[in-house]
């Protein structure tokens, strides 16, 4: 009997465990497997195999039996928002959470996570972003700077395939770019006017994780050029955009070192008091609900910002009664996200003899210009802007009968439509926090999360300035019918939740060190959104990928040095 137990423990033992298969988990899997570590990759949801499990990817609009509407059965399982086109829905009862204040928590609980659902925008941080907290004193100073991350940005960008233009802006460093996508003539018009009028504002091609010119490294992944289907969130059969499913996971699989285990809900990390380090994870099998244990020398936590923090909070021991690595008491605090509340739309009647053709998966981008070189606004930090302009048929749904039909099939093009959306930095504050509910547990026996996050006056001021500035730029460009709107959407609607286990120089005020290692439990690494000490304005995925590759490299070096 004893021998069987020893044997079974052996089969449950790996060099590394990665929790999660999204953007950052996929990178951890790839890097660790490539470096020869026998790696167990845990995913709480079902498997999603590239191409094979994209059932709606090649369906024409009329091929959906309900033309996209979710059936009652789907609504019962996935909630009212269920639709026929999206195969990556979360079951409504999968993981209840308590909103002390409104919070929209979007989760991707399947292999690939939110890398199948993301907007694929990939902008680097600069030192203007890293130095924000040090300059104005809100949140803690980042223990790293751009120079620490730059080579890792390059490392991941080459593999991912990023289309972009080398713009030479200090606020948004250039990367390893494939050719940029085009933008429309009206976006170019706005660019010309804005850049002439303001010395500090630029309109550039949005850098995105789409292959515009496949390199050998992309062909080796079996990925092809983006064909502008813009059906990205159904899964791309061409691998035209980057996802864990199309890229890092099959790459890791090919090394022969990866074991991927779907339906594995991580309950907690096992801490060995004698060894003074983590030795493995407790997993609830999603199907049998049995508790299992897996063991490894290092653990990468990549379950997504809030879920990773939840796992650390639920990992209690005599050494860490308040959650793994939580000597400082800041675990679960300083939750932040991005402010996407501001929208400005307009129309334009110039270039009426021109239009666009085909479809674009990306947009124009205005890098942050507020409080950049020096702080001079009545709010802290700044915002970036997504921007697009296009032209469709002048159609309406007015009337009935032949009138309606005429409106619906009008072959004449309308005026240009222009839309801009805000991506603002949130100041992390202590009271924006998550905690475990003392009594309520989910179907896996894991305490439910209680979310208490709210906007601050700084956010309101920033939205106001955003709407004013975009209105001003649109006015100068000659746009008409300019309408600005503050959506007052709930925090989390941006799907960029961050923080909870922030990096920092001082273990007294942070959870992770400059290598994304838990200060007080060095063989646990957290490299997803939970690590973020501040948010800046950039879409965060690229930065998570760079941190993950950097941390994985450090982990392997530390193993070699026998430090962990």
């Amino acid at each position: 009997m004893a021998n069987i137990l020893i044997d079974s423990k052996k089969t449950m033992t790996y060099d590394a465990i990665v929790i999660g298969t999204g953007i950052s988990g996929g990178w951890a899997a790839k890097e660790l497997c490539e470096k020869g570590l026998k790696t167990l990759v845990l995913e709480r949801g079902r498997d999603v195999k590239h191409i094979m499990d994209y059932p709606t990817a090649n369906l024409e609009p009329w091929e959906f039996p309900h033309r996209g509407k979710g059936t009652l059965e789907m609504q019962r399982i996935y909630g009212k928002a269920a639709n026929e086109t999206n195969p990556f829905l979360l079951k409504a009862d999968e993981q209840p959470y308590i909103q002390e204040k409104p919070f929209k928590w979007t989760r991707g609980y399947h292999v690939g996570g939110k890398s199948l659902l993301w907007a694929r925008q990939t902008q680097r941080w600069s030192d203007f972003d890293y130095e924000g907290p040090l300059r104005d004193g809100y949140a803690v100073d980042w223990p790293i700077r751009y120079a620490d991350v730059a080579p890792w940005y390059s490392h991941v960008e080459k593999f991912v395939g990023i289309s972009g233009n080398r713009d030479g802006l200090a606020s948004l460093p250039d990367g390893e770019f494939l050719p940029p996508m085009e933008t429309s003539i009206v976006e170019q018009h706005l660019k010309g006017i804005v850049e002439k009028h303001y010395s500090d504002r630029h309109i550039i091609y949005g850098r995105c994780a789409h292959i515009t010119k496949p390199q050998p490294i992309h062909s080796q992944q079996g990925r092809a050029q983006c064909m502008n289907r813009t059906l990205c969130n159904r899964g791309c059969p061409l691998g035209g955009y980057f996802s864990s499913n199309a890229s890092t996971l099959p790459w890791a699989q090919r090394t022969g070192h990866m074991t991927l285990r779907p339906h594995s809900v991580v309950h907690s990390i096992i801490y060995d008091e004698k060894k003074g380090k983590a030795t493995g994870v407790r997993v609830v099998d999603g199907e049998s609900k049995q508790m299992l244990e897996f063991y490894a020398r290092i653990i990468f936590v990549n379950a997504s910002a809030l879920a990773s923090t939840q796992i650390l909070m639920n990992s209690t021991s005599s050494r860490f009664p308040n959650g793994l690595g939580n000597d400082s008491g800041v675990l679960g605090k300083y939750i932040s996200w991005h402010n996407y509340r501001g929208h400005v739309n307009a129309s334009y009647d110039g270039y009426m003899d021109r239009r666009t053709d085909g479809r674009t998966p990306t947009n124009s981008y205005i890098p942050r210009f507020r409080n950049l070189e020096k702080h001079n606004m009545d709010f802290l930090r700044g915002y970036a802007t997504g921007l697009s302009a296009g032209r469709g048929f002048a159609r309406s749904q007015e009337g009935l009968g032949e009138d309606l039909k005429k409106h619906l099939t009008n072959p004449e093009y309308g005026e240009w439509g222009v839309g801009a959306w805000m991506m603002g930095e949130i100041i992390p504050i202590e009271s924006n926090q998550i905690k475990l509910h003392p009594d309520l547990k989910d179907q896996y026996g894991i305490p439910e999360l209680v979310l208490s996050c709210d906007w601050t006056e700084n956010d309101d001021k920033m939205v106001k300035d955003y709407m004013e500035q975009l209105t001003e730029m649109f006015t100068i460009a000659g746009f008409k019918n300019i309408q600005s709107n503050d959506s007052h959407s709930a925090p989390g609607s941006d799907i960029h939740e961050m923080g909870g286990a922030r990096m920092g120089r001082d273990p007294k005020t942070s959870i992770l060190n400059k290598w994304n290692q838990v200060h007080s439990c060095k063989n646990v690494f957290v490299t997803d959104g939970a690590c973020m000490a501040s948010t800046s304005t950039q879409n965060p995925s690229l930065t998570y990928m760079a941190y993950t590759a950097r941390a994985a490299n450090h982990a392997v070096e530390e193993i070699k040095k026998m430090n962990i």
């Binding site: 990817a57 090649n58 399982i77 085009e182 021109r354 009935l400 009968g401 309606l404 619906l408």
Partner: protein
Amino acid sequence: MERRVALRNIAFIVGSAISIPSWADGLSKTTTYQPGTSLSAEDNPLLASVADAIIPDTDTPGAKELGVPALIQKILADCYEKEVNDSFYKGMNWANDKAKTDNGKPFADCTTAQRLAILKQVQSEDPASDQAKFIKMAKELTILGYTSSEYVVTKINKYVMIPGHYYGNVPLNYVDPNARN
């Protein structure tokens, strides 16, 4: 052109090899009309005449020719609760009764002008009434079915699944050599 066709073929082959995962069970289970919902078979001519009135066949196919009435019935049965179906049915019958009162014949037998007159009256009813909700929904679903039909998508909108490009600045009369015709 070749590239597009080749890609479409690859996509088709890949697509046909898919096994439908468990999340999609609902697709096959509920796609057929289930007894017990409030739309009975004899409602079909009335529903068809309503959809036909909303988007008529002209020199191009309208709702009726594109099979929109059957689609509406399916969507109502599969995607909406019984109460919504009941209200829709009541509202539709209200319109039918109105036709009989005003024109002495059922809605389906009315002329185009008579049908439109009745539907416009229905639209002006109290928004909370079954009849106002019925015409709002009937119009919405007819437009959905029509605009997502293969005919409108390919012939009117010239949608192609795989454009293979995005050009930000072309003349208004530019014709994509790969576009459907």
